[in-house]
């Protein structure tokens, strides 16, 4: 008990000292520890995201940032999962060329900083794409241009679903979906980087299913695809989920590197708010709380799923 009291005392003393210092420094700067500045008009523009005017409040601006983070993280998770699964299985392919290529991808991507990859994709690739008028169509409907990537969109019309293909009208494309270069670079960077880690997770999980399972399935006359689908993957999934959760969380946290390519995610917008108002402490509390909330949400969701597939197994 004595040790605990001593620890508490030290904690209170250190915390009190830091807090007093903080308040004193903030007062010297003419700042307080309050959040009411959030209702003031932000006055800066945000290039993409949900509806927002520079006249809107800081709180609204921050919300736009949160939505943008969720948007890029969600698509990134989808992309990285698909890419990682394909590459992870490719590493185990009996085709040695395919397996070698997968190793090459994983080893070269994992060992280079993500920030560097993002800067490469953004400045060396996406900003160097041809101007809009010279853009070439890929598969007839996808355009890579300096102003971003234009994709066909699936729209619901009265006659049912229809594919809306972007069309060059005058100086710009109309219709379809436009991904800004910032979003596209960030999404590609996050997908490629996290995909390499997920590939390793998938490979490890597939390899951890005992060989006997493969042999037993083959002895039963299942094809390779059937074995994978019905025997190996259900067992591997249980092993995959926990490390996969942490990869998803890493991707979400890594999306904060958006600030380096100018995508207005929550960290970038928060940083702008901080620069304008000088309210460093409240803004950091907001930023940290947002990431923590997202982390807790994602891990809660996946833990739920994890519990479910575990129940199915027993």
């Amino acid at each position: 008990m004595g040790a605990q009291a001593l620890f508490a005392l030290l904690l209170v003393l250190a915390g009190g000292l830091l807090y007093a210092n903080l308040v004193r420094s903030l007062r010297a700067l003419g700042l307080t520890l309050q959040f009411e500045f959030l209702s003031h008009p932000a006055g800066f523009g945000i290039a993409e995201g949900p509806a927002y005017q520079p006249g809107d409040s800081y709180a609204r601006a921050f919300w736009v940032g949160v939505v943008n983070t969720v948007r890029v993280a969600a698509w990134g998770i989808v992309g990285a999962t698909v890419l990682g699964t394909v590459v992870g299985v490719a590493r185990l392919s009996s085709n040695r060329l395919v397996a070698r290529l997968a190793v090459l991808y994983v080893e070269s991507v994992r060992n280079v900083p993500l920030l560097l990859q993002l800067l490469f994709w953004y400045t060396a690739v996406f900003l160097n794409l041809p101007p809009v008028r010279e853009a070439r169509a890929w598969l007839g409907a996808i355009y890579f241009t300096q102003r971003g990537v234009y994709l066909p969109a699936l729209r619901w019309t009265q006659a049912g679903p229809a594919l809306e293909v972007p069309q060059l009208v005058g100086f710009n494309f109309q219709g379809g979906i436009r991904l800004s270069p910032e979003f596209a670079a960030l999404l590609l960077g996050l997908t490629v980087y996290t995909g390499a880690f997920i590939a390793e997770v998938v490979r490890g999980a597939v390899q951890s299913v005992p060989r006997g399972q493969w042999e037993a399935a083959q002895a039963l006359g299942l094809t390779y695809g059937q074995t994978l689908r019905k025997v190996i993957l259900p067992q591997a999934l249980r092993i995959i989920v926990p490390p996969l959760i942490s990869q998803y969380l890493n991707l979400t946290k890594n999306s904060s590197l958006a600030i380096a390519v100018g995508y207005p995610d929550l960290f970038n917008v928060g940083h702008t708010i901080l620069n304008q108002t000088g309210q460093s402490v409240p803004v950091f509390v907001l930023i940290m709380a947002s990431y923590l909330a997202m982390s807790l949400f994602v891990s809660a969701l996946l833990n739920l799923y994890n519990r479910r597939i575990r129940l199915v197994e027993r």
């Binding site: 040790a3 605990q4 620890f7 508490a8 904690l11 830091l18 210092n21 903080l22 004193r24 420094s25 903030l26 010297a28 392919s93 009996s94 085709n95 040695r96 060329l97 395919v98 290529l101 080893e107 070269s108 060992n111 280079v112 900083p113 993500l114 920030l115 560097l116 990859q117 800067l119 490469f120 400045t123 060396a124 160097n128 390899q207 951890s208 005992p210 060989r211 092993i239 969380l249 946290k253 890594n254 904060s256 590197l257 600030i259 380096a260 960290f267 940083h271 901080l274 460093s280 402490v281 950091f284 930023i287 940290m288 990431y291 923590l292 982390s295 807790l296």
Partner: protein
Amino acid sequence: MATVPVAAGPPQLSTRDRWAQWARSLVVPWYNALLTACCLAVLLPGGWAVGVWAVRWARWDVVGANLRLFAVGTYPPAQAWRPLVALVLSVALAAFTGWALRRRQRRALWVAVALWLAWPAAVLGLVAPVRTSLWGGLLVTVLLSAGGIVLSFPLGVLLALGRRSRLGLVRVVCTAYIELVRGVPLVSVLFMAQLLLPLFVPGMRPDKLLRALVGITAFTAAYIAENVRGGLQGVPLGQYEAAYALGLSPAQALALVVLPQALRAVLPSIAGQFISLLKDTSLVAIMGILDLLGVARSVLAHPRWLGRQAEVYLFVGAVYWLLTYSLSRASRRLERPELHGRVE
């Protein structure tokens, strides 16, 4: 996690047979031939285009002209021996540690550990006489990551012990710290260190690089704590009981019996942490610190080197790759079972 029994390997093949097998796998069965064709259809034109670009269009002179910047930043050439001596000493120390580990020299190993703990101070003493604003390039990258791992290690061990403490308050505080830090991105911790640290210590104006190091240390400690916790959990309960039965106090049992086993078990994951830290230190470039990536960005901002992004980033990426890949190859040796027996 279940471990897979190691199946007996296939019989040893001659080199020629292995190549034949390699080639056969490209075309048999039929879908492998299809896969090979698809790969080649993408690979050949893509590889050709990249090759043509690298040889004909890329202007690599930007790399050669700025090699010094990439290595040490604007560190004065007359003082360049300082980081060089530090580098030689570090390599010697690493070699010594490797030797001690391989030969299982217990006393030499303790000397090595002590030297590693003194290492940041020694290196700092060597390079510090030059203003930190002149430091840059690989020097800063290596200093930040090595300094970060050495400083965060003791902190991480303390946090891990705290998280398993019997004292409720200690446990809550340590757990809260670990989970909080692991839940937020490194950039936010680094920005906090840059902006908030001066507010917490009024009167002092900590150096920009020092603030970055504080942020990196605070961040890495939480991850190391989790690694160490895993190691602590791996030590069987019987070890504690045996230590107590021998009359050791709880502190002695921890220091002499439990921690040595736990730390040896987590050595590979600490090495992994160091490797990811080496990559993560690149984030200080966002803060305007001229580490390897920061130097790359400032070179690209120079009007003379406009539009050389691909060349510069590919070069810097290759440097990072070489560092981390060789380190991860080296760290795989730490997982060799013979290192986990008794070190005598």
